[in-house]
Amino acid sequence: MKFRFTRRTFLKSSAVAAASAGLPRLAMAEGSPIKIGFLAPLTGPVAAWGKPGLDGCLIWAERVNAAGGITLSDGAHPVEFVAYDEEYDPAKARTGATKLIREDGVSFIMMLGGDPWPGVQPVADKTGMLFSTLLPSDLSPDTTTLIAPAEVHPIYNVTGVEWLAETRPELKTAVICAQDDALGLPSIATYLAAFEAAGIEMQDEPLLFDPATTDFAPVVTRLISKSPDIVCLDTCYSDYVHPICEQLFQQGYKGQIISCTADFYDQIIAKTSKEFMEGFVFQFPDFDDPALNAEQINFPDPNGFYAEFNKRHPGQWGAVSWEYAAIMDLWKAAAEKAGSAEPDAVAAAMKADGTGKHAFGAANWWGTELFGIDNALVGDWPVVVIEDGKARIKGFKSIPAWYDKHGDLLIKHMEAYGQMWNQRG
């Protein structure tokens, strides 16, 4: 029988994981625990981008504590996570941030970001607490204590298009569809810039659909009506990527598909076919990929992490499973360098020389032109292709290198969609 994640199993697994995370602490690290806040949606429609991240963090904490914890100037400390379910609601996120800081005494708070951030920002301004987000669109010159160290959504999508243009130069035309929301629109601007930079012609204006859409047949009929070489699924949620792919299959599309994510792609293959999904390009690897064992990768033991995650949470691996843990690697290194868990000391150490160790390699703190502040860590990003039913990294491409050549195109399209930091409300 297929594994089902329920609230009960969540509580059980969290309790077991938290308890097991605590045991090595007693044995290996004797200082008072360093508490890290995890303020993300754990229930509700957006939970898929929160809960797997917490699961990954609990594995991370277990490993770090077993290895001796976090070494500050006063000795080694175990680390523990305090989670708060903000349900992707700004008011609840604000309550959660206040509780984590005042009652739990956390030293750092990780968020998914997005809609809840405006609720939290006043708390960040008032307390000086260091926060992280997965969505750099939260960044602005006013968010001095907010960092985006894991992913620079949606800018990394340029790497998939660039790789595709290099490896399949015969592809000349494309269409794109996306949900009409804060995640879809900046991604559209990014893909449009990437296609223009690659000399790929857009056959049509981007096709927007309501996030409440359930039947994607009309969308797909329109998309493939002019026989495009490439269908781009933008940053559609899994709830859209799956039925769109199924419709593309059923309506006889045989061209190239590119997407930001392909979470649970095995289920898409089950609904279409291995042959149909062959060559599907996206941006988030499985961490059992041999390419992640390369020297430049800064995520420790990615294959072991992936195996452990799947052992505890079968079938639940997704785009965010590793990202919060990767942020913690960066935070731990900065705290140990500063010898302190104080937010300002960690932030200063983290950005001291303008560089940082991103999960996928050396990276730079960047973003003034796009976000108004250099608080996004940007470097290489993997291009992932489905081959014989399995996601495989085909290479790492540099986001800054692309931006140096085509940044003007990105800014042009971001401005056209009102997505620059000074255009966002």
Binding site: F5, T6, R7, G44, E205, L207, L208, D215, A217, S238
Partner: protein, 289 residues
Amino acid sequence: MLDLLAQTGLNAVYAASYISLIAVGLVLIFGVMGVINFAHGELFMVGAYTVVALYADRHLPFLVAVAAGLVFVGLLGLVMERALFRPLRDNPLGGLVASIGFLMILQAVAVLGFGVRMVHVPPVTQEVIVFSDRIRLPVARLYVIVAAVVLLSGLWFFLKRTRFGWALRASAQDPEAAALQGISINQTARIAMFIGAALAGVAGALTAPLVSINPHMGHSVIVTAFIVIIVGGVGSLEGAVIASVVYAFVHTFVTTLYDGVIADIVGLSLMLLVLIIKPTGLFGSADRA
């Protein structure tokens, strides 16, 4: 262009089929009981999860799972009638508020039982009827179209040709007069609730392999159903079917020829236009409006 229009027409027929199943159930409940059942979208969701539990997880035949969805959600409707709507019969807003509370309970139960993530249902069949390279009808969609025609025809026969159906229509037209003629209001309410809920359940069950299943999937369905019954005329079964077809064709063609966001605007504008020109809806009467 002709291929595009033909394919869009097939897409619209499918959309009209499942929308009409949901809308007719909603109208039937309102017509007989005078209750606006906000939990109707969640009954659709429960039907889909029944297929998840029986077909995807326990590998029972798809049609068995669909039949189970129909019966189970119909029985759930009976529970709603007895526990929620009957005690609040004299309170015009009571049923509405109770149904909102019940939808939250159903969502929470779905989260507890199946988690918050999208659930995968294996395809029933990957066969596609190919009319031409650009005109295709997946057989799984054909199942929904055929089921809608059969079920709605059956409902029409039941309402027009059977004593229970006459009683139901009499209760819908004038509950007090029907009661004076010896028609049990409780019994007609039970029948209406069972049929209305079962139609939503079977729509959810039939479309389960074709849509993304999650605990909140009922929201968009109920919004569409409300637009349809307002356009068709609140309380009118014929209006609900015709409005489903009109709405599905308008929304599908606008989505394909322009985009989905504009299609939503056009759909809502259609509702506003009907409300301005004929506030009771295309087939509604002033009594129930």
